[in-house]
């Protein structure tokens, strides 16, 4: 099998892993080595599904001994199998890196035999890349649950970011769909990585020769829509992971049916892309907007509203917190206003030291006045007076009603519901309704519904 074919097979097997970021560590280049890292991360390409390619995302091998029902690489699936040779992988990484195709390597693997054996081979590949090929760029390595802690330590010293996938949001689902994986086996390396990473950061402040252990922290990912958990459960779990294991990111991956199984959603199910999007929005609220999971969802309302983003939803439920005076409010208060994000909040705080801010100034600063105007005052004057229906209309997320032409072939120019539109829109169009008409109808209903709640 030639290298290109191998690469194709192993990339195809790795594509369902979502964590393709290269963020979290700033490291300038060094003579004698190749590569550097930038803390915000750099994307290098975007595939037609709109996801970024930042790292050379491959599996070391896709010959798996496990049989997880949701996974394409499970033992019982009949697919082409391949395994890299360490030097091949190193040369591929360096070749792509020099051409500015990628930001580094993302290495994961199917379980070959047992977790320890797999980890040892991954470590060998990374060691060759770092020590012999002098690679100084980003490496994201996946720890295999159940591997020896010593191996996790060795991997962490070679990688910038590590991750352990918790796969499914609850132990019950894990037991049902991935009987070979145990919750404890997933959480143990996560705990270890968090501890060692913290310790190495402390040591690096004190000793000169201390080695960084996963300096870009760790992340995890879970599949959304394969099991019956609510959004509230998922966001609660996410918050706990951030707090307990000081994770940098939690990734969500909308479940794509790849196999017929009575325990899983039917093969015709659409991936819940809008739900995934809402979860990411909520995740951002947790990390950058000082929200807590309990504020976003409650027992009576366990799932996110598909038509409104979680922040607008919160704002509508808490009218007592508004309006906010932009010229005096604290940063935390500003961050709660729909239409003001962390960047514009920072700019407002800096700008108002020099001048009074009115609506025109806010617009120049980059505030989305369409939403923000109903929630702020400038020097005591309300940004805008709106009826409930007007406010609801301004807050609705246009993504939920997305209609557009996605040309898969030349004669395909009919507008269709976009893949990340609300599931109701897909349902109405599947029932034979004109897509534009369906979007308008749905929008009307959403406005009525939100107005009633206000």
């Amino acid at each position: 099998m030639d290298l290109a074919e191998k690469l194709e097979i192993l990339a195809d097997s790795a594509k369902y892993d979502v964590a393709c970021t290269s963020s979290g560590v700033d490291r300038p280049g060094q003579h004698g080595k190749i590569g550097s890292c930038a803390a915000p991360g750099i994307c290098h390409a975007f595939t037609p599904d709109g996801r970024c390619v930042s790292l050379l995302k491959v599996l070391y091998s896709n010959s798996c001994s496990y049989d997880c029902s949701y996974c394409v690489n499970r033992r019982s699936n009949d697919i082409r199998r391949a395994t890299f040779i360490p030097r091949e992988l190193a040369e591929l990484t360096i070749g792509f890196y020099r051409r500015n195709y990628i930001e580094g390597l993302f290495l994961s693997s199917a379980v070959m035999g047992n977790p320890d054996l797999t980890m040892e081979r991954m470590i060998e590949a990374l060691r060759i890349l770092r020590e012999e090929y002098r690679f100084h760029g980003y490496i994201h390595a996946k720890a295999i649950p159940g591997a020896d802690p010593l191996l996790v330590r060795r991997l962490g010293l070679l990688a910038d970011r590590m991750s352990v996938n918790i796969e499914l949001p609850s132990e019950v689902s894990l037991q049902r769909l991935a009987p070979d994986k145990k919750k404890a086996a997933v959480l143990a390396p996560m705990r270890q990585i968090a501890d060692e990473s913290r310790q190495s950061r402390r040591e690096m402040q004190v000793y000169r020769g201390a080695k960084p252990f996963a300096p870009a922290g760790q992340s995890t990912q879970m599949i959304i829509g394969a099991s019956p958990e609510t959004d509230r459960h998922i966001i609660g779990l996410t918050e706990a992971l951030y707090k307990k294991y000081s994770l940098k990111r939690v990734f969500y991956s909308a479940y794509l049916p790849v196999v017929e199984d009575s325990r899983l959603p039917a093969l015709t199910t659409r991936p819940p892309l809008l739900r995934e999007h809402r979860l990411y929005q909520a995740d951002w609220l947790l990390r950058y907007y000082h929200f807590s999971a309990s504020e976003l969802l409650s027992e009576e309302e366990p799932n996110f509203n598909p038509y409104l983003d979680p922040k607008c939803c919160w704002a509508l439920r808490n009218p007592a917190c508004f309006p906010v005076e932009v010229n005096t409010a604290s940063k935390e208060e500003l961050l709660r206003v729909p239409g003001i994000g962390p960047k514009s909040a920072q700019r407002i705080i800096k700008a108002r030291r020099m001048q009074h801010l009115g609506l025109a100034e806010l617009k120049r600063i980059g505030v989305v006045l369409k939403r923000a105007q109903y929630f702020i005052t400038c020097n005591g004057y309300l940004g805008a007076h709106g009826t409930r229906a007007e406010i609801a209309n301004a807050l609705l997320d246009p993504k939920a009603f997305g209609v557009g032409v996605q040309q898969l072939s030349l004669d395909d120019c009919m507008p269709k519901a976009l893949p990340d539109a609300a599931p109701e829109l897909h349902q109405l169009t599947a029932e034979g309704m004109d897509v534009l008409q369906a979007a308008a109808l749905l929008r009307q209903e959403a406005v009525t519904c939100i107005t009633r709640q206000m």
Binding site: L3, A4, L7, E8, I9, A11, D12, K15, Y16, P28, G29, H31, G32, K33, I34, G35, S36, A38, I42, C43, H44, A45, F46, T47, P48, D49, G50, R51, C52, V53, L56, K57, L92, G95, F96, R98, R99, N100, Y101, G137, L256, P271, R347, K350, A351, M354, Q355, L357, G358, A360, E361, R364, I365, G366, G404, Q406, Q407, L408, L418, P419
Partner: protein, 290 residues
């Protein structure tokens, strides 16, 4: 301090260099006037107002630059970055920005609510944003041990790419050719040179094409068909960058379109044969230590 100025019915013409522009700023303060327009020779604009030729005087430019430096690093940074823009309004925007800056003093860079400051900030953002896109989407090709890339930027982004690529590839020689402005940045050893360049031949080395086809296969394998969302792809990677990205242009062995577009710019007497980029006709503009 408040510097008064009236809008004057006059057009400044300068040589297009930063020093030249700084002299325009000097002139504007000297005569207490805001010109209706400032034109560089690149944009041959017709105006109804009388012209005034502003001569470049490095001493005057130095005085203005020292004044800008006193206002803080971020003011200077905004000015120098925004000056790389090719927006036809750039001179007018920057003059107004510098006048506001000298009136206000330090801290002017944070007054983003002010229309003049916000306009300069937008220019800076556009230039930085484009430079970042090229850091992401630039594609090198290897030939004879040297890396080469072609880009078609709107703004003069080469100086902003320099730090990133010099740090990333510390022991490599590389050349980035800005085809829209006919300038190339070449790094060899410890020096970076900016060169005038008119022609760039796409690579035909089979080994390099092999790498490109491998990258294309990888790119194709990563796509999840059920999630197809081309609008999202175009939002993150606008169409205008595609012409220089090997995975976005046609089949594996297709000759990239850029051969046609650069050939138009080639001057008479320049040979377009020879695959080595180092042998192309290059005129050194400036040479700076890295």
């Amino acid at each position: 301090m408040h510097y008064q100025a009236d809008v004057a019915d006059v057009v400044y013409r300068y040589d297009g260099s930063m020093q030249g522009f700084l002299c325009c700023v000097f002139e504007s303060f000297c005569r207490k006037e805001l010109p209706a327009e400032i034109c560089s020779p690149a944009e041959d604009r017709l105006t109804l107002y009388p012209d005034r030729e502003i001569l470049t005087d490095s001493q005057r430019a130095q005085r203005v630059l020292a004044g800008i430096e006193r206002l803080g690093g971020s003011v200077k940074q905004r000015f120098t970055t925004a000056f790389l823009s090719t927006d036809p309004e750039k001179e007018r925007i920057l003059l107004r920005y510098l006048r506001t800056a000298f009136n206000t003093g330090r801290g002017v860079d944070q007054m983003l609510g002010d229309p003049d400051v916000a306009a300069a900030w937008q220019l800076e953002r556009a230039v930085n944003g484009e430079a970042h896109h090229f850091i992401e989407f630039l594609r090198f090709e290897e030939r004879g041990g040297m890396l080469g890339a072609v880009i078609h930027p709107k703004n003069m982004v080469l100086p902003l790419l320099r730090g990133h690529f010099c740090s990333r590839l510390p022991d490599e020689s590389f050349l980035i050719y800005d085809a829209s402005h006919g300038v190339a940045m070449m790094r060899r050893g410890d020096t970076v040179r900016y060169l005038e360049m008119t022609d760039y031949d796409p690579v035909s080395d089979p080994e390099e094409l092999e790498w490109q086809s491998m990258w294309k296969r990888f790119f194709k394998a990563l796509t999840i068909e059920q999630r197809r969302n081309e609008r999202c792809q175009r939002t993150h990677c606008p169409r205008r960058f595609w012409q220089d990205m090997c995975e976005m242009t046609g089949g594996c062995l297709a000759v990239p379109e850029r051969t046609v577009s650069t050939a138009k710019r080639s001057l008479p007497g320049n040979s377009s044969e020879g695959t080595d980029i180092r042998s192309s006709t290059l005129v050194t503009i400036s040479q700076t230590p890295q």
